[in-house]
C-alpha cells in the first residue's frame, strides 16, 4: 500500500468516541483499576489545593504572627500531606500500568484469535506487515492513550473544581479574575496542541521514510555498487534528512511558542491578582498568606488545562490506530461454519472430535464456479469426481487454476456457485476444522516455525512420538542431513526456518505432513528445491505414502506427475485433457507438448551438477 495514501486517511481523523468505548470494553475485567486511577487523580487534585492552604497557614499563623504555637501540628500535617501524595502516586501508577498491560494483552489476544478465523480472501488483500502493525504498535498506542487518561482526567477535573470552589469560598473577587483567564487559556492550548500534533505527524512520516531508505540502502548496497548509484542514493537521502531537519525544527518551534504564550496569559491574570490582592492586603481585607495562595493557584491552574488539551490531542492522534485495531476485530470471514455445524462439530478452538466422521477421501466438484475478484472467473462450471484413494496430478501453466482447485478442496476458499462434496456430503455441512485437520499440505514455499526440527515435524500431529518423527524424516530422506547437524533433531531452525536451505525446509515440511497421517494429501510444487537424490527417495516413498490416500499433486517436475492415477490438464480454468501419462502422451496434445518442453529444461539443471 502506498504510504502517502495511508498518511492522508490518517490526517483527517476526528475523534470517534464509539471506537474508544469499544476499546474500553476490553477493560471489563480491569474496571477497578480505572476507578483507582480516577480516584487517586481526584484526590491529588484536592491535595494540590490543600497544600496551598498549608502554605498560607505557615505564612499567616507562624511567620506573620511571629509565633511557634501549634508548630507540631503543622509539621504533622505538612509531612502527612506529602506521604499521602506518595501513596496516591503509588496507587495510580500501579493501577494505570496494570490497566495498560491488561488491555494490551486482552486486545492483542482478541485480535490474534480473530486472525485465526479469517479466511484466505482476507489475507490475500492484507499484507503480513500491515497486520503485524495492527497487533503491535497500533494496539500499544491506543492502549497507552486510554490507560493513562483516567489519572489525568481525574486529577485535572478535581484540581480545577477544588481550586475554584476553595478560591470562591476564600475570596470570590480574586477567584473571578483567575476564572476569566481559563477559557482564553483553553482556546490557546487547543490551538497549539492541534498544530503540535500536525507537526509531530509530519516528523513521524519523514522518520519512517528515513528508516526505509536506510533499510534499502543496506539491503541493496551490493546492487547499488554494481549500478554505481551511490551518489544519487546519497543525494536522495540527504534531501529526506534535510526535510526532516526542517520539520523537526518547526515542531520544536511551535512547542516553544506555546509555553511562553500561555505563560503570558497567566502572568497577566496573576498580575491582576497581585494588584487587586495587594490593595486588599493593605486594606486588611485578606492576609498575605491568602494573597500568596491566589498567586500560586494562578500559576498552577495552567497545568490541568494544558493537560486536557494534551489528552484531547492524544486521542486525536491515536484515533486512526484505534480504528485500525477495531477494523481487525470487526473483520468478517468469508467462510463461516453455520451454527448447526458448530453445535455438532465444535469451532476452530474447541472442536467436538467425538462427533467427527472419518474422512474417506472422496472428492467431488459439482458445477463449481469461482473467482478471486468479481468478474474475473478462474473456474467456470467445473466438474470433477475423485475416488477415495485416487492420486491426481494437476498440470497447467501458472494462473491456469490448478492451485485454485486445490485451495477449494482444502476449503481455503468457497465457490461462488456449485458445490464441493467430500465423501458425498457438502463441504459446508461440516466444520472447517473437521476437514483441515485431516489434510497433509506441502507447499513450494515451505513455512517453518521457530523452534527445533523436531517441534516442526511434530506440528503435523502434536502427540507424535520421537520415533514417529524420525520415521517420517527417514521416509522423505531428511533424516540424513538432520543427523549431520550437530544437534540433530534438536537443531533450532531459526525464525521462519531461516537457518535451513529451501530444499531442507521442503523436506521437513514434507515430513510434517506425513506425521499428520492425512486422509487427503496436497502437494503444491512440494519438491521443486530438493536435490535429485532426495527427490528419487521421496518418489519411492510416495508410492507407499500415497497409497490409500486421496492426493492432489501440483508439480513442476513432471517426473513426479508421471505416476499419478490420473493427470488433469488445466487451462484457463477448464480441464482440457485428462487421463494417465500413457494415454495423454499417446494423444500428443497439450500435455505432450508441455511435457517435452519442461522435461528438457528440467534436465538442464541436473546435467550441470555433473560438471
Amino acid at each position: 500500500m502506498n504510504s502517502a495514501i495511508k498518511e492522508k486517511e490518517y490526517q483527517n481523523q476526528k475523534i470517534n468516541w464509539g471506537t474508544w468505548r469499544r476499546i474500553l470494553g476490553f477493560a471489563s475485567m480491569s474496571k477497578k483499576y480505572i476507578w483507582i486511577a480516577a480516584l487517586a487523580g481526584a484526590l491529588t487534585g484536592i491535595l494540590d489545593f490543600c497544600s496551598q492552604l498549608v502554605s498560607s497557614w505557615a505564612i499567616d499563623d507562624f511567620i506573620g504572627a511571629m509565633s511557634m504555637n501549634g508548630i507540631s501540628l503543622y509539621i504533622f500535617v505538612a509531612v502527612g500531606l506529602q506521604l499521602v501524595y506518595a501513596a496516591l502516586t503509588l496507587a495510580f501508577s500501579r493501577a494505570c500500568g496494570t490497566l495498560e498491560a491488561n488491555l494490551n494483552a486482552d486486545i492483542r489476544n482478541a485480535e490474534f484469535r480473530k486472525l485465526q478465523t479469517l479466511s484466505f480472501s482476507y489475507f490475500d488483500k492484507t499484507s503480513v506487515g500491515y497486520l503485524l502493525a495492527r497487533v503491535t504498535t497500533d494496539v500499544s498506542r491506543t492502549v497507552e492513550t486510554i490507560s493513562w487518561c483516567f489519572i489525568d482526567l481525574g486529577w485535572g477535573i478535581m484540581a480545577i473544581i477544588a481550586g475554584l470552589v476553595g478560591m470562591f469560598i476564600i475570596n470570590w473577587r480574586l477567584a473571578l479574575i483567575l476564572l476569566a483567564a481559563m477559557p482564553i487559556l483553553a482556546v490557546v492550548s487547543v490551538f497549539f496542541q492541534k498544530r503540535i500534533l500536525r507537526h509531530q505527524r509530519e516528523t513521524r512520516r519523514l522518520n519512517s521514510m528515513i528508516t526505509s531508505a536506510i533499510n534499502e540502502g543496506i539491503m541493496g548496497a551490493r546492487t547499488t555498487k554494481t549500478l554505481v548509484r551511490e551518489e544519487l542514493n546519497n543525494r536522495e537521502f540527504f534531501s529526506t534528512t534535510a526535510a526532516m531537519r526542517g520539520a523537526s525544527m518547526r515542531a520544536a518551534m511551535i512547542s516553544a511558542l506555546y509555553m511562553p504564550v500561555a505563560s503570558m496569559i497567566i502572568s497577566i491574570a496573576v498580575g491582576a491578582v497581585l494588584v487587586k490582592g495587594g490593595v486588599d492586603v493593605t486594606n486588611m481585607v485578606i492576609s498575605i498568606g491568602t494573597l500568596n495562595l491566589f498567586i500560586n493557584m494562578g500559576n498552577m491552574m495552567f497545568e490541568p488545562i494544558r493537560n486536557f488539551a494534551r489528552i484531547f490531542a492524544d486521542f486525536q492522534s491515536s484515533q486512526a490506530a484505534a480504528e485500525r485495531v477495531i477494523d481487525v476485530l470487526n473483520a468478517e470471514s468469508d467462510i463461516v461454519d453455520s451454527d448447526e455445524v458448530v453445535a455438532k462439530y465444535g469451532d476452530l478452538f474447541d472442536p467436538k472430535r467425538e462427533n467427527w466422521e472419518d474422512v474417506k477421501g472422496e472428492v467431488e466438484f459439482r458445477n463449481v464456479s469461482f473467482s478471486y475478484i468479481e468478474g474475473e472467473p478462474v473456474l467456470k462450471n467445473f466438474n470433477l469426481k475423485v475416488r477415495a484413494g485416487e492420486n491426481i496430478a494437476l498440470v497447467g501453466e501458472t494462473g491456469s487454476g490448478k492451485s485454485t482447485i486445490v485451495n477449494l478442496v482444502c476449503r481455503f476458499y468457497e465457490p461462488q456457485e456449485g458445490e464441493i462434496l467430500i465423501d458425498g456430503v457438502n463441504i459446508r455441512e461440516r466444520s472447517q476444522l473437521w476437514l483441515q485437520s485431516r489434510l497433509g499440505y506441502v507447499l513450494q514455499q515451505p513455512h517453518l516455525f521457530s523452534g527445533t526440527i523436531r517441534d516442526n515435524i511434530r506440528y503435523g500431529r502434536l502427540d507424535a512420538s520421537d520415533e514417529d518423527i524420525e520415521n517420517a524424516a527417514k521416509m522423505v530422506g531428511a533424516d540424513e542431513f538432520i543427523r549431520t547437524l550437530e544437534k540433530g533433531y534438536d537443531t533450532e531452525v531459526g525464525e521462519g526456518g531461516g537457518l535451513l536451505s529451501t530444499g531442507q525446509k521442503q523436506l521437513i515440511s514434507f515430513a510434517r505432513a506425513i506425521v499428520a497421517d492425512p486422509k487427503i494429501f496436497v502437494l503444491d510444487e512440494a519438491t521443486s528445491s530438493v536435490d535429485t537424490e532426495s527427490e528419487v527417495k521421496i518418489q519411492k516413498a510416495s508410492e507407499t505414502l500415497l497409497r490409500n490416500r486421496t492426493s492432489f499433486i501440483i508439480a513442476h517436475r513432471l517426473s513426479t506427475v508421471r505416476d499419478a492415477d490420473r493427470i488433469l490438464v488445466i487451462d484457463n480454468g477448464e480441464m482440457i485433457e485428462q487421463g494417465s501419462h500413457k494415454e495423454l502422451m499417446a494423444k500428443k496434445g497439450y500435455y505432450y507438448e508441455l511435457y517435452t518442453n519442461q522435461f528438457r529444461s528440467e534436465k538442464v539443471a541436473e546435467s550441470v551438477k555433473e560438471l
Binding site: 500500500m1 505564612i59 507562624f62 511567620i63 511557634m68 508548630i71 506529602q82 506518595a86 501513596a87 502516586t89 503509588l90 501508577s93 500500568g97 495498560e100 494483552a105 490474534f112 486472525l115 478465523t117 484466505f120 489475507f123 503480513v128 503485524l132 503491535t136 536506510i214 540502502g217 543496506i218 539491503m219 541493496g220 548496497a221 546492487t223 540527504f238 531537519r245 523537526s248 520544536a252 518551534m253 516553544a256 511558542l257 511562553p260 498580575g271 497581585l274 494588584v275 495587594g278 492586603v281 498575605i288 476452530l348 478452538f349 472447517q432 485437520s437 499440505y441 506440528y459 515440511s509 496436497v522 511435457y595 529444461s601 534436465k603 538442464v604 541436473e606 546435467s607 550441470v608 560438471l611
Partner: protein, 602 residues
C-alpha cells in the same frame, strides 16, 4: 573504551560550538529569570505591603532605584503594585522570549548534528566495499543505522539538553538562593544527592529488565509473524488452537513482565515522592524556624523559597534517568562508530577512463574469497571486444566471481585483468562499473516505481528510453498489464513481482546505461525458454559493439554465442564455438548430450 566513545560523542558536536554556546547563555539567563519571578512577589510582600528594607541582588535594586527608590515603594501602594505586576509580566515575557530563542538555537544545532550524523552513516555505508556488504549481518547493520541512531537522536535533542539544563539549574539556583539565605538554600537542596543517586541506581538496575521485556516482546512478535506468514500451514493442519495457546502464553508472560516493571517504576516514583515530599516539608518547617526564631528570613523570602523548592523537584528526579540514558547512548555511539570506522572502498577516483570496447583478457587470475581458498586458479581467458561469449559452469565453479572481478567488486589475488590492453586496476572504479552492466540471478529492485527502477541510472526521467529497454527485456507487456503500469511501486512497499519479472526488470535496467560490457549472471533462469530466446534475439539486434557475457547452464541459452567457455575447478577447461566444443567431446558435449538426450527420451 568509554573515553573513546565520549570523544566520538563530543566529535558529533563539532561545527556547532557557537550555536551551542549561545544556547547555553540563553539557557542560563532563562533559568536565572525563572528564579527572579518569585523575587518580585517577595519584594512586593516585604517592601510594598510591609515596610522591610529591600534585600535583593544588584540588578533588581537597579530596577527599584529606577522607579524612585525604596522609599517610593511605600508612598503609593497602588502605583507600586502596578509596577510590580508589570515587572512580573515583563520578566515572564523576557523569559518566554529566551525560551523561544534558546529552542531555536538548540534545535538548529541538534537537528543539524542529527542530520549530519545520519547523512554520514548513510553515505559511509554506501561507500563500504562489496566485501563488507557480502559478509556483514544486514539485520545488525540496519539496527545500528536505525535503532542506535534513534537512541542518539533522542540523546542529542533531548537528554543532552536536559543534562546541561539540570546542571545549570543547580548552579544558578544555588547562587540565587544562597544570596537570600544560605542555610535554607542548603536545606532546599539537602536531599538532592539522595534523589539523584537513588534514581540513577534504579535506572541502572532495571536495564536488564528492559532488555528482558524487549526480548519477550520480540518473542510475541515472532509468533504473530510466523503465524501470519504461515496461515496456510496453520489452516492445513488445523492448528488454530495450538497457535492461539502459544500466543496467549507468550502474551501473558509479556503482560506479567510489563506489570512487574511498571510496579517497580511505581515504587520508584512514590519513593521519590516521599523523599522530595520531605524535602518540601523541611523547607516549610525550617523556613518558619528561621523566620520566627532567628528572624533571618522575611515572609516574602519564605514564599520565594517555597516556590524554589518546587523548581528543583522534577529535574532532580529525572536526573537519574538522564544519567543512565547517557550510559545507553554511549553504547550506541560505540556501535555506530564501529560502522563508521570500517574502511570505505578506495574508489581510485583519479584512475584512467579508457574506452571499454576492446578485448577483455584474464591472465593467470587467481582469486579466493577467503585466505587459502582458490575459487579461480590461474585462469586465462580472452574475450574479443564486441563479441558475445558464454560461460558454462557448475555451482561454485567461479563463474559469478568472474563478473565480480571484472567490475572490481573484488580484487584479484594475483594475475591481471585487462580491457583493451589496460589493466582494470588502473581505471577509476566508478567509470569501470558505470560501463559494465551486470544482471544478477536474484536482482534487487528499489522501492520505487517500475519507471524509476528501470531508469535508475538516469538523473532525469526519460520514459522513451525506459519503454525501449523494457521492450527489449520482454517486460513491457507485463508492466502495461499492471493497474498502474509503469507507475507501479515495487519492492518492500509495493507489488511483489515474480522472479522472472524481477530478472527482466533488472535486464531492462542494465540496458539503460548503454554499457560497453553486459554480463548476464544466470539472469534468465526464472524466465521460460521462449522468452529467453526472445530477449536474446532482441539484445542481438540492439547490441552494437557491446561485449556480452552470458553465464548459464542452459545449453540453449549458450549455444549461439560467438565463443563458449567451460569453467571447471577455477580454470577454463574448454573453449570454442558450439560446434567445436561438440566435436571436442568434453564436458560441454556431455552436458549437451544429457540435456538434449533427456529431451529426446521423451
Amino acid at each position: 573504551m568509554n573515553n573513546q566513545r565520549l570523544r566520538a560523542l563530543l566529535g558529533y558536536l563539532k561545527g556547532f560550538k557557537w550555536l551551542l554556546a549561545v544556547g547555553l547563555v540563553f539557557m542560563a539567563v532563562e533559568i536565572y529569570l525563572s528564579f527572579v519571578s518569585p523575587l518580585v512577589m517577595s519584594v512586593t510582600i516585604d517592601s510594598v505591603l510591609d515596610s522591610k528594607p529591600v534585600d535583593v541582588p544588584g540588578y533588581f535594586r537597579w530596577f527599584i532605584d529606577m522607579i524612585g527608590g525604596e522609599s517610593a515603594l511605600r508612598v503609593d501602594a497602588l502605583r507600586s503594585l502596578l509596577i510590580m505586576a508589570a515587572a512580573m509580566i515583563g520578566f515572564r515575557l523576557a523569559s518566554g522570549l529566551l525560551t523561544f530563542l534558546r529552542t531555536y538555537v538548540n534545535s538548529k544545532a541538534s537537528e543539524g548534528m542529527i542530520k549530519r550524523l545520519r547523512d554520514r552513516v548513510y553515505s559511509h555505508v554506501q561507500s563500504l566495499p562489496f566485501r563488507y556488504h557480502a559478509t556483514v549481518q544486514t539485520g545488525d547493520l540496519i539496527q545500528r543505522a536505525t535503532n542506535d541512531m534513534e537512541t542518539l537522536r533522542r540523546f542529542i535533542s533531548g537528554t543532552l539538553l536536559e543534562f546541561v539544563r539540570t546542571i545549570c539549574l543547580f548552579v544558578v539556583g544555588l547562587i540565587v538562593m544562597a544570596n537570600l539565605h544560605l542555610r535554607l538554600a542548603l536545606i532546599t537542596l539537602s536531599l538532592a544527592p539522595f534523589i539523584v543517586i537513588t534514581s540513577m541506581i534504579f535506572f541502572k538496575r532495571i536495564q536488564n529488565l528492559f532488555i528482558e521485556l524487549e526480548n519477550q516482546e520480540s518473542d510475541m512478535y515472532t509468533i504473530a509473524q510466523e503465524n501470519l506468514t504461515g496461515t496456510r500451514v496453520v489452516r492445513a493442519f488445523g492448528r488454530e488452537r495450538f497457535e492461539l495457546d502459544k500466543y496467549l502464553k507468550s502474551n501473558e508472560e509479556l503482560r506479567r513482565r510489563t506489570v512487574k516493571l511498571n510496579n517497580m517504576f511505581a515504587n520508584l516514583w512514590s519513593g521519590l515522592d516521599v523523599v522530595s515530599g520531605i524535602q518540601i516539608a523541611l523547607v516549610g518547617i525550617f523556613g518558619i524556624i528561621f523566620a520566627v526564631k532567628d528572624q533571618s528570613l522575611s515572609v516574602g523570602e519564605y514564599t520565594a523559597f517555597m516556590s524554589y523548592v518546587y523548581i528543583f523537584i522534577w529535574p532532580l528526579r529525572n536526573f537519574g534517568r538522564v544519567l543512565s540514558d547517557l550510559g545507553r547512548s554511549l553504547i550506541s555511539v560505540g556501535r555506530i562508530e564501529e560502522v563508521l570506522n570500517a574502511k570505505p572502498e578506495d574508489e581510485n577516483e583519479n584512475g584512467s577512463t579508457p574506452p571499454l570496447g576492446g578485448d577483455i583478457d584474464f591472465r593467470d587470475v587467481t582469486f579466493g574469497y577467503e585466505k587459502g581458498q582458490k575459487v579461480l586458479d590461474g585462469l586465462n581467458m580472452h574475450i574479443e571486444g564486441g563479441s558475445t561469449v558464454a560461460i558454462l559452469g557448475g555451482t561454485g565453479s567461479g563463474k559469478s566471481t568472474l563478473a565480480q572481478l571484472l567490475q572490481r567488486l573484488y580484487d584479484v589475488n594475483s594475475g591481471h585483468i585487462t580491457i583493451g590492453g589496460e589493466d582494470i586496476n588502473k581505471m577509476s572504479k566508478h567509470y569501470l562499473r558505470d560501463h559494465i552492466g551486470i544482471v544478477l540471478q536474484e536482482p534487487f529492485l528499489y522501492s520505487k516505481t517500475i519507471m524509476q527502477n528501470i531508469g535508475i541510472k538516469l538523473e532525469t526521467p526519460e520514459p522513451e528510453r525506459v519503454y525501449e529497454a523494457a521492450k527489449v527485456a520482454a517486460i513491457h507487456d507485463d508492466i502495461e498489464s499492471f493497474e498502474q503500469g509503469y507507475d507501479t511501486v515495487v519492492g518492500e512497499r509495493g507489488v511483489t513481482l515474480s522472479g522472472g519479472q524481477k530478472q527482466r526488470v533488472a535486464i531492462a535496467r542494465s540496458l539503460i546505461g548503454d554499457s560497453n560490457i553486459l554480463i548476464f549472471d544466470d539472469s534468465l533462469s526464472a524466465v521460460d525458454s521462449k522468452t529467453d530466446a526472445q530477449i536474446r534475439a532482441a539484445l542481438k539486434e540492439r547490441r552494437k559493439g557491446t561485449t556480452t557475457i552470458i553465464i548459464s547452464h542452459r545449453i540453449t541459452t549458450l549455444m549461439e554465442a560467438d565463443k563458449i567457455f567451460v569453467l571447471k575447478d577455477g580454470r577454463i577447461a574448454e573453449e570454442g564455438t558450439h560446434d567445436e566444443l561438440l566435436k571436442l567431446g568434453g564436458i560441454y558435449r556431455r552436458t549437451y548430450d544429457i540435456q538434449s538426450m533427456q529431451a529426446e527420451e521423451v
